[in-house]
């Protein structure tokens, strides 16, 4: 068995020294960061564009309601008629003209107000204007039924339902999405790793076949050793690449954002800024810090150590299963173009796992679909990891499911590797045969 380290070393070095691999390793993080920075920059540019809205206000209302903000500025016309106002708005290239007619009753004023613009106005802009009207109308209506703004403020306090587990621990509502996203990220990582490096294993097998070195090698080592060494060596190269990607992308992103002065949060928080442009009676936003604190508390309560342990278990088993299938495919064909018919059935369960996982686990992490797919061995590495952030035992994954899932996975691992090794052993010495599934089945009996 001391030949195995030799094979692993060769496969690793062959992969790591490969020119396109080196280029991809160092280029990918740069490309990725460039893309993120570009998106951030474009978002900023978009937000930075200032819209100008002209207002022709003939009523007695709204004289102080439209405040120029970061993204919209208001320009008031006085003592001109509507037609002239429309003309000049269009000529000046403003975003639109808000016409508020002269009426005595606020309700009628609001009803008859019109926003003129060349094209359909942006919904964000319209929302802002509508919000101003709505606030004003609400205040008026409240006054009519005799509620003072101060009373209303106390009435309009935002309510949030407290959620808790049966054992009395406090729950947070959005924590499910966060947990699913964390699990999803792990699952997605596994899928990407399998597809990229499984493909590498396959190509490496094909290369040994086409260069005709295979028979020289397997007269010295067992085909199974070669297959195993290839899979391990390639995955070590893959882990090296991933580590370089994650580290360099992190550093580059940090540096790039610092240089361009883009707040990382602006990538996600664009929507909130718009909504907060409400009137003076907007209900006070509940203590953000407190919620954030709870979230981070919950975030740290996620059983990270357990999660990472199981990630490693599912990752190793899942990757070995799939990459040995890839190796068998590589052995069965003479060149890469013949692989298509075999690749699709491999990708299918992976895709299914990701999509089913995202939909069903997000909705109901302990539902029957989620449970089913987290037990089925070809999808369990991805789906079970999506469920695991909820913990093991009460409220999370029952222990029996975890055990069954891992046992099934180990059983499948042994079975698939055995089958793949058989196909591999026969396939690597077959030249010029276009393999079919029927043919592969026959090889199992050789």
């Amino acid at each position: 068995m001391r030949k195995l380290p030799l094979i692993i070393k060769r496969e690793y070095l062959a992969k790591v020294r490969n020119r396109s691999f080196v280029i991809m390793t160092f280029l990918s993080p740069i490309l990725m960061v460039a893309m993120v920075v570009l998106i951030a920059y474009l978002t900023k540019l978009n937000d930075g564009e200032k819209r100008v809205v002209a207002i022709l206000n003939e009523s007695d209302y709204f004289s102080t309601d439209f405040h120029t903000t970061e993204s919209v500025s208001y320009l008031r016309f006085f003592d001109i008629d509507l037609a002239t106002a429309k003309d000049s708005t269009a000529n000046m290239g403003y975003s639109g003209l808000l016409y508020i007619p002269h009426e005595t009753d606020l309700e009628i004023v609001a009803k008859r107000a019109v926003f003129y613009s060349k094209d359909a106005p942006s919904s964000v802009l319209l929302d802002k204007i509508e919000m101003v009207f709505q606030e004003r109308l609400r205040q008026r209506r409240l006054q009519n039924i005799g509620v003072s703004p101060k009373d209303f403020a106390t009435v309009d306090d935002r309510f949030e339902m407290d959620t808790a587990t049966y054992s009395g621990e406090k729950n947070l509502k959005h924590i499910n999405e966060i947990k699913a996203a964390i699990g999803g990220a792990f699952g997605y990582l596994i899928m990407m790793f399998i597809i990229i490096y499984g493909g590498f294993v396959m190509r490496s097998v094909i290369e040994e076949k086409t260069s005709r070195i295979i028979e020289v090698i397997i007269s010295s080592v067992k085909p199974f050793q070669l297959m195993l060494g290839k899979i391990i060596g390639t995955s070590l190269a893959g882990i090296t690449q991933f580590a370089i990607w994650i580290m360099s992308a992190g550093i580059l992103l940090f540096v790039a954002l610092a240089i361009l002065d883009i707040e990382p949060t602006s990538l996600t928080a664009g929507q909130d800024v718009v909504n907060s442009a409400a009137g003076e009676l907007a209900p006070p936003i509940p203590a953000v810090d407190e919620t954030l604190g709870l979230y981070s508390q919950e975030f740290f309560k996620i059983p990270w150590l357990m999660l990472i342990c199981f990630f490693l278990i599912y990752f190793v088993l899942g990757y070995l299963i799939y990459s040995s299938i890839y190796a068998a495919i590589g052995a069965a064909v003479d060149n890469e173009t013949d692989t298509q018919q075999f690749i699709f059935p491999i990708i299918l369960p992976l895709m299914l796992a990701i999509y089913v996982g995202f939909f069903s686990v997000f909705n109901n992490p302990q539902g029957p679909i989620a449970v089913g797919f987290s037990l089925f061995p070809l999808t369990s590495p991805i789906v079970m990891l999506m469920r695991l952030p909820w913990g093991i035992g009460e409220g999370g994954v029952p222990i029996w499911q975890l055990l069954v899932s891992i046992l099934l996975l180990v059983g499948t691992f042994i079975g698939i590797v055995w089958l793949a090794a058989k196909i591999y052993r026969v396939g690597i010495l077959m030249y010029g045969k276009k393999p079919s599934y029927k043919e592969l089945f026959k090889w199992l009996r050789y």
């Binding site: 030949k3 030799l6 094979i7 060769r10 062959a14 490969n18 290369e207 040994e208 260069s211 005709r212 070195i213 295979i214 028979e215 020289v216 090698i217 397997i218 007269s219 010295s220 080592v221 067992k222 085909p223 010495l429 030249y431 026959k442 009996r445 050789y446």
Partner: protein
Amino acid sequence: MNNILVTEEVTKQFGNYTALDKVSLEIPKNSIYGLLGPNGAGKTTLIRIINQITYPDSGTVFFDGEPLMPSHIAKIGYLPEERGLYKSMKVGEQALYLAQLKGLEKGEAKRRLKYWFERLEIGDWWNKKIQELSKGMAQKIQFIVTVLHQPKLLIFDEPFSGFDPINANLIKDEILNLKSRGTSIIFSTHRMESVEELCEYIALIHESEKILDGKLSEIKKAYKNNKFHVGMAIDQGSLFLEEMEQRFDLAHSTYDPVEKQMNFTVQLPSDDSRGLLGYLSTKGKVNHFQESIPSANEIFIQTVQQKGTHA
């Protein structure tokens, strides 16, 4: 133990196809053994079984008296017919890797490689990549890697394909040199004439069966059929020919009246070449007298035909 390798009724099937049918061979130590037969006869399958790449469905293989086991791999050197090298790896690195896979320790492997690289005058190739080498050059590397671990048994499958005549001779000399140092060698080829001169023993494989095996000289003795090629200087060609045809079974006769040279083949009923030669020398000057020895190819064809008529 006089045999390096013995196979006993080795049978191998691929699905419904029988690749080897009860093949029994005895390969003597320190000999060159020819495994001859047309393409698809089962030679490569047999060799793969000896190298433990595939396993027989039934039958046993003995290596040096012991049933074949994984540890024997280090004592066998195999140059497959389908041979290649990693294209993007450097020559030295690659040779070192393959040598280590055969169980050689790294320092020892390096030392031996240096020796062989210099012996075959390719010392400056160490840092070249395989894709920069010609096919013949790559074959030299493959040869070195095959013999580097000083195996007791060397197996060459179509060894000379891909070599130019000069390098083929070089390799042939190296093989004879290895044999003189005690190595046993198996040649497998479908071009029977090419290794016939090297082999002391042969086995003929046809349609998955061994149809003939043994010492080449004895096989030839058994298959020679008292045919003699004769060349004579004769004045009266046609007269002599008439006389000869009455006495002997004659074939392929030609007469050159200018040179007064007659050539023909005689088929004798028995091995009495002395009588024939005595008779001929009374008739003219014999300048060429040779017993016709069948080639392996002729023996093969004859054996296959005999098999066909028996069946």
